[in-house]
């Protein structure tokens, strides 16, 4: 066991939890109507709570257990309730309890990302049930495939910190859920603007800082790999924001704060899978590419396809994560400042593997999300009444109001 690695992963765990609570919660909450602010915060908070228990009870085991003969597909149930893990258990160079915790923070943020798809109209109980089942059936297996010695790991897919595992699963599932749930009243032309862009920016800043734990923590060590992962992560965040802002300047002649921070998230989602493979130039290019392409897809989803993926989870996370997964195969090349492909692997070959990984996981996420939502919908109400939607979910779902001034 390495104390230094442990020190850094303890910190990284705190940073990644901080990304969801309050980072992502604020990021999303600022973008909705004032009457739904608490509902968004509550979704993120409640997901963090229930998924923590789910992770302990079974999901960690499914993801990182020893699946024996089925190891290609899942990790089995041998580690439910952390059975057999005590303070002396080690995973790599860190305590296993810590590895469990670090990975738990990923399991929390992934379903929390999906919140952006269904805000302002979903029934709270549906959120809870869906998130629990989704983590068990979609997230935990995919983690196993990619990071838990499953079949995608065997194929040699590169996904350092979760382009496929986190962003593609969440993005694709968000799109499916948004289509199933339907548009918000007023979408797309008569929506109310984000009630507090400053709140969104605070959340974004916390995401940026926390992402250091996400990506540099994924090195699972305090070393040069962590340092370089932090560097490329940061550069991609900055260049993603710049790319999005430039697009806005060109199209609308003003660069907005919400645009800039959205570009930042796009850059971060894009660099995530590649953050263990590429160098600074790779970070720069991936950030710019993420900013431009996610911007474009955001417009298309809303304006061409009229899908109310309300806070653009698919366009930013799904597309960013997939894009970065593909570009990782290119910018890993030492000629472009990366760490180099595995021995005997060609760029084309790797690109193929990456594409296959994305496609399989996207299909799995889409199909399972559809089935899960349909099934749950048979016994839990999916969408609130129109009156509740108009009044706002804070009062309707939680009996509280966001702002009391009089």
């Amino acid at each position: 066991m390495s104390g230094a690695d442990t020190a850094w992963i303890l910190t990284s765990t705190a940073l990644v939890l901080f990304m969801t609570l309050p980072g992502l919660a604020l990021f999303y909450a600022g973008l909705v109507r004032a009457q739904n602010v608490l509902s968004v915060l509550m979704n993120c908070f409640a997901i963090a709570c229930v998924i923590s228990i789910v992770w302990l009870v079974a999901a960690y085991s499914i993801a990182f257990g020893d699946g024996g003969g089925a190891q290609q597909w899942w990790g089995g149930l041998g580690k439910t309730f952390l059975s057999g893990v005590n303070i002396d258990s080690v995973s790599g160079t860190i305590p296993e309890s810590l590895f469990f915790m670090f990975q738990m923070t990923f399991a929390i943020i992934t379903p929390a990302l999906i919140v952006g798809a269904y805000v302002e109209r979903i029934q709270f109980s549906f959120v809870l049930v869906f998130s629990v089942v989704w983590v068990l059936l979609v997230y935990a297996p995919v983690v196993h495939w990619v990071w838990g010695s499953g079949f995608l790991a065997d194929m040699g897919v590169i996904d350092f910190a979760g382009g496929i595992v986190v962003h593609v699963t969440a993005g694709v599932s968000a799109l499916v859920l948004a289509m199933m749930l339907g548009k918000r009243r007023g979408f797309p032309n008569e929506l109310q603007p984000p009630h507090n862009p400053g709140m969104t920016m605070i959340g974004a800043a916390m995401l940026w800082v926390g992402w250091f734990g996400f990506n540099a923590g994924s090195a699972l060590a305090a070393d040069g790999a962590a340092g370089m992962a932090m560097t490329v992560t940061h550069i991609a965040a900055a260049s993603g924001a710049i790319a999005w802002s430039v697009m806005e300047l060109v199209l609308y002649r003003k660069a907005s704060l919400i645009g800039a921070v959205t570009g930042m998230v796009a850059g971060l989602a894009t660099i995530t899978p590649a953050s263990g493979s590429v160098g600074p130039i790779g970070g720069l290019v991936l950030g710019l590419a993420g900013g431009v392409i996610c911007f474009t897809v955001t417009q298309m989803i809303k304006q061409r396809f009229k899908i109310d993926d309300s806070l653009d989870v698919f366009a930013v996370h799904g597309v960013g994560g997939a894009l970065g997964t593909l570009l990782a195969a290119i910018f890993v090349s030492t000629a472009l400042g990366g760490n180099g492909l595995a021995d005997g692997v060609t760029m084309g070959g790797q690109l193929g593997v990456q594409a296959v990984g994305i496609i399989i996981v996207a299909i799995w996420s889409a199909v399972l999300t559809f089935i899960i939502a349909k099934l749950i919908g048979t016994f839990v109400k999916f969408r609130v009444s129109e009156e509740d939607e108009v009044q706002g979910l804070d009062l309707a779902m939680h009996g509280e109001r966001g702002y009391h001034n009089l």
Partner: protein, 112 residues
């Protein structure tokens, strides 16, 4: 007595207050309102979606005055609030039947 309601641009509030003080008005009440009129609202763009914000922030100034002061007060507001740009606002004048100062119970002109 008259009751004057003026809808003005927010940044003109201090000028209006001073102008009213100039004609002898000693009290007034203001509130934040939003206006809709010839001056169109803003188009705000968030993540590529355009939001038409129809209402423009304005300030409503309410002041009760003696009949004798009413015309001066209206004129004072008009001049102070005028920027000669669209959206400068309106002044409305009402008949005020009664005014009471809560603290003293005074009524009529001496309550103002």
């Amino acid at each position: 007595m008259k009751f004057i309601v003026a809808i003005v641009k927010p940044h003109k509030l201090d000028d209006v207050r001073e102008a009213l003080t100039g004609v002898g008005v000693e009290g007034l009440t203001v509130s934040e309102v939003k206006g809709y009129g010839r001056q169109k609202g803003q188009t705000e763009i968030y993540r590529g979606a355009e939001y038409q914000v129809n209402f423009v922030p304005k300030v409503k100034v309410e002041v009760a005055v003696d009949d004798a002061v009413a015309d001066n007060a209206v004129e004072a507001i008009r001049q102070a609030a005028n920027t000669e740009k669209i959206g400068d606002g309106k002044i409305f004048v009402f008949e005020l039947q009664q005014a009471v100062r809560i603290r003293t119970g005074e009524t009529g002109g001496s309550a103002l």
